[in-house]
Symmetry: D2
Subunit: 342 residues, 4 copies
């Protein structure tokens, strides 16, 4: 941590800051510059220390040196974490593919979807039973009935089931019917929920909040890891920017950035990341080329009649074609995408 | 709702879209333009109708005409809602002032704070007992012990107590000890929590999420109103932008904008909205001048030793001076700020 | 400057970085931390040094300590710069008011506008003769003819004339007819233009680019100051964010921030900063309360028939009322707004 | 264009708006909805009409239906524009590759760079002679001397030369020595410069401003097209967002979006788009997979000693490896990247 003093800071203020550093159990190295004095602080950096030093009189700014997350850090664990769950593999050279409708609407819809996405090479099935919706007047999901339909689709196809959990009360219920728990973007900083999924024996797909910084994203993962659940996947699904021609802006540089900072696998969601069906396949291919460990894509038997997110869903033919193209990109880079396909 | 067809849309596609409009129970007015056909859709607009029409073939875009929220809308209720709770008043010509530390740290700290902010004219006391923190390694609050200390401060001063609730499980507990429930920015789209506070007989201070649009913010309020709780205050606390010299960017135009769109009172948080103590008083004055119905300000007996947010907290003298200046601005515009003061 | 090494940097890499520091004529202080080594670099910081050190092997990041601007800095000149130009005063306790139409449309329009805004207390007249427009198909301004009309309005009212210059070729021409040169937001980083206005004996109103950081904004001012022209005013006119209910987001915290960092006066543009007439007066008042040294406001005799920007222009009555309210806010804070008024 | 009236608009206000529409030479279709009246306006939409109608009393908002650009539009010209200039080809199945140092530093540096990037398969050489720099104290380029060095590199290798022009005065000079003119991001809305390059017989590489919307970007291109120069390439180089772990956020969805809206080729700049050398290759591959028509990449013989942008430059070996990988991705998608290579 570097404590930068104001240019007009007094000697007394510098000394007071040094004293504070000592009280925090840290050591000070004082460097007197041409215009300012800075104090380099040595020892284990903690969030609180930064806050305390920031408010000392005469302190201009405090710059942390170390990343605030620990267990998620590449420095703690050099090897990439590979998620391996019922045929779904993400990490290393394997690119997992999660596909399916935004919402579970009926048993027929979800079973048909599962069969089709499996035939195209998907290795997990997505489908929402508990839907967090912007408006209270929108369809909120089939809840436990939907979970049962997901389980039926898994029984039928063997695909791992990925579904969202929106509340601590539901964690146990959702875990009973599914294989991978999704924490949605709106709940990325719902810390109670993070702790709850951190205590369950299920991999977690954690979506980045649309205005979360990378440090905040990794600290959210840290909440889960810190409870003992080491199987966390990070999902980039787009950030909020001034751009309005896409619903969100999908920053694929997150992939190589996160690969450098963390051992956790990185999944890309080109459906939410663009918000328009016609943009999804190109961005899925780009994600594979950028090194993503997985994709999560909205696919619906009949997007024009979907209960939600039809505007960003592929139909089966579109998904199948997208998979063919993504597979070619993966192959060109010596990686394997999804599972066996028809 | 306006359905804009692609310029190359076929007659069949136009007809299919019209048919879909009819299926939704709405009426179509077709306008054939020089380059495109548009369909003006008449009837009660619903989120779902937009989604359905958006995915029809040949449709370029769907533009909603009506606001997606209803009960929050000024068109539904013309008169401004005034929150009146134990001496705290916000709305109309009255500007409520909520002040106090970020976190409750001890009974002495919170009682002293309550006395001091009351003396300076505050009409409610803030203090966090359940703290949502970015890092799992940061101080998480005193929980029920903290709530009891807040209640003690209220007994001592008569100030209304405002405190955050972060989870549905805690709503009843927090409501027992406090007068106004705060839903934090990170939980603005935690819909279960919104529903829970919508079922409690307490005013709610709803903070805007840092990347929430105004429609999303008002729809979050709608979740609460829709459960029956009409006493909702909207709190602007800054949005996330590319600016890094402030922690968030505080857009004060939210005040007149929201006053035009909704009857709910608008509270400004200059502490989180700037993230630096020295910027707080000027932005508090600006908020009053912009027409805010209330302020929420972090004040700590000793910011340099605060458990959290010291860098954006005022000390008692600073708060008292800020209040004097805000009162002068309010007076110049024929409004009343806070309560009686020493 | 603080050079932070990677946690796995070798001793050789640290030594190479130290050698590079020496080559730059700077001194190194090496601090070996628990997880990383950092090198505190002492000496005059230059942009180039940062770039050079950033690319040394084993270097993780380089954090500058000093502001990159010099002449604009409060540390170089403690006293606020006051602009005093033909009755227009901005800085210290004086709040200058620049008002007038977006574009000069006719002599009658601009002279009438000048008279009216003067009667309401404005101390300078704005009006565009060279208009940078987003579309090549929009009205581009009356050019020299418009400049002559502005000069006529000045002759008639004595108001200082503020007008935009968009190209180095026009600087001399525009300076001939006007008192204060405006550099628009789109040209904030048109460095040739900045140099050109830096060589003219006219105060410059420099508008912040909608995505410029504060450092970039102050460095743009530095280009002007560096050429010898010390009379620079900084104009905050809103930044581009995800918000779409306003055209730009107007961050008033720029006022106290800039007052702390620079001696240059800060002018607020609530017209471009909001993009909607009905938001302008409240934001003008807020700007005054936040400590702005001046306002620049679009006022048109007949906004419904304006050649440009009608949607954000006040009419004379609206401007006059806004001025009354702003004057009350200024008075409450012991400041003086604009000039004598009818 | 759709004119949406306020819900409380009077019949008189509706009629006044209809009258205004007629005055603009357009036709009105009035649709009386359940809550509001809307007027669908038919005829050629012009920017000015929107502005005029927006300020009519009782009008809530005006929504354009047509894109504001014409000549850049896919609707005007269905076939993709292919730029073919001295061996550099971009558009259709051909992916052009522009590579070279940020700044021209010496003849040896630029000639060596040209040879190396050509050997790796680049089809054009980049190199800045006129450098727009954020700080007046940074290296500003070798100017005409640099242009001569670029010409020497072209003579040596046959590569097309791409270099930036920052001022109208320099257009002729820069065109004399180079093959493709670059307009930088900071000058995207320097309309005089756009007009000037629109009058020169050279292809133009137009970089997106970091806060430009797509409509603004295409309207900037329209300025060039409108002067008669049809050879415009659009370069996405990243936008400014809240993300700070990259210098800019590179939104690759711009590629398929622009391909749908315009016939102009789309070039991606992964160097400026990320700001960090280690992120460049993965984003270059992703750009190819997303369908980009070209790449522009910073390559320097010795990034650690570059005069500028070393932190985002590849060395020759790194560039060569990147090209190999990009070529494999292009091949997998039946496209051709760059030229012959060693």
């Amino acid at each position: 941590m570097i404590v930068v003093m104001e240019s007009h800071a007094t000697q007394q203020q510098v000394e007071a800051a040094i004293k504070k550093v000592a009280e925090l159990g840290l050591r000070s190295n004082v460097i007197v510059g041409t215009e300012r004095t800075v104090i380099a602080v040595v020892g284990e950096e903690r969030e609180h220390a930064k806050e305390v030093l920031e408010v000392c009189e005469g302190v201009s700014t405090v710059m942390p040196i170390l990343a605030p997350y620990k267990m998620a850090s590449r420095e703690v664990r050099g090897e990439p974490t590979v998620i391996d769950c019922q045929g779904f593999r993400a990490g290393g050279t394997q690119i997992g593919v999660i596909a399916g409708p935004c919402s579970v609407e009926s048993e027929d819809q979800i079973v048909t979807s599962a069969r089709s996405v499996k035939a195209a090479g998907a290795t997990a099935l997505r489908g929402g039973a508990f839907k967090p919706r912007t408006s209270p007047y929108s369809f909120q999901g089939l809840k436990e009935t939907g979970l049962k339909m997901l389980a039926a689709a898994r029984d039928e196809t063997g695909l791992a089931v990925v579904t969202e959990v929106v509340s601590t009360e539901d964690v146990e219920l959702v875990a009973r019917y599914s294989d991978i728990l999704q924490v949605g973007a709106r709940n990325m900083q719902n810390y109670r929920l993070l702790e709850a999924v951190g205590n369950v024996d299920r991999p977690v797909l954690l979506k980045r909040g649309p205005s979360a910084t990378m440090d905040e994203f990794l600290l959210a993962a840290e909440y889960i890891l810190n409870e003992g659940n080491q199987r966390v996947m990070l999902c980039e699904r787009g950030i909020r920017t001034f751009e309005s021609h896409t619903r969100f802006t999908l920053p694929l540089a997150s992939v190589p950035y996160l690969h450098r900072k963390t051992h956790l696998p990185v999944i890309i969601d080109p459906s939410h990341g663009t918000g328009h069906t016609y943009l999804v396949p190109d961005m899925a291919m780009a994600a594979v080329a950028a090194g993503a460990d997985g994709l999560i894509v909205e696919v619906h038997p009949d997007p024009q009649n979907a209960a939600s997110d039809g505007y960003q869903s592929l139909d089966f033919a579109g998904f199948s074609e997208m998979m063919d193209r993504c597979r070619r990109v993966a192959g060109a880079l010596d990686r394997t995408l999804g599972g066996p396909h028809a």
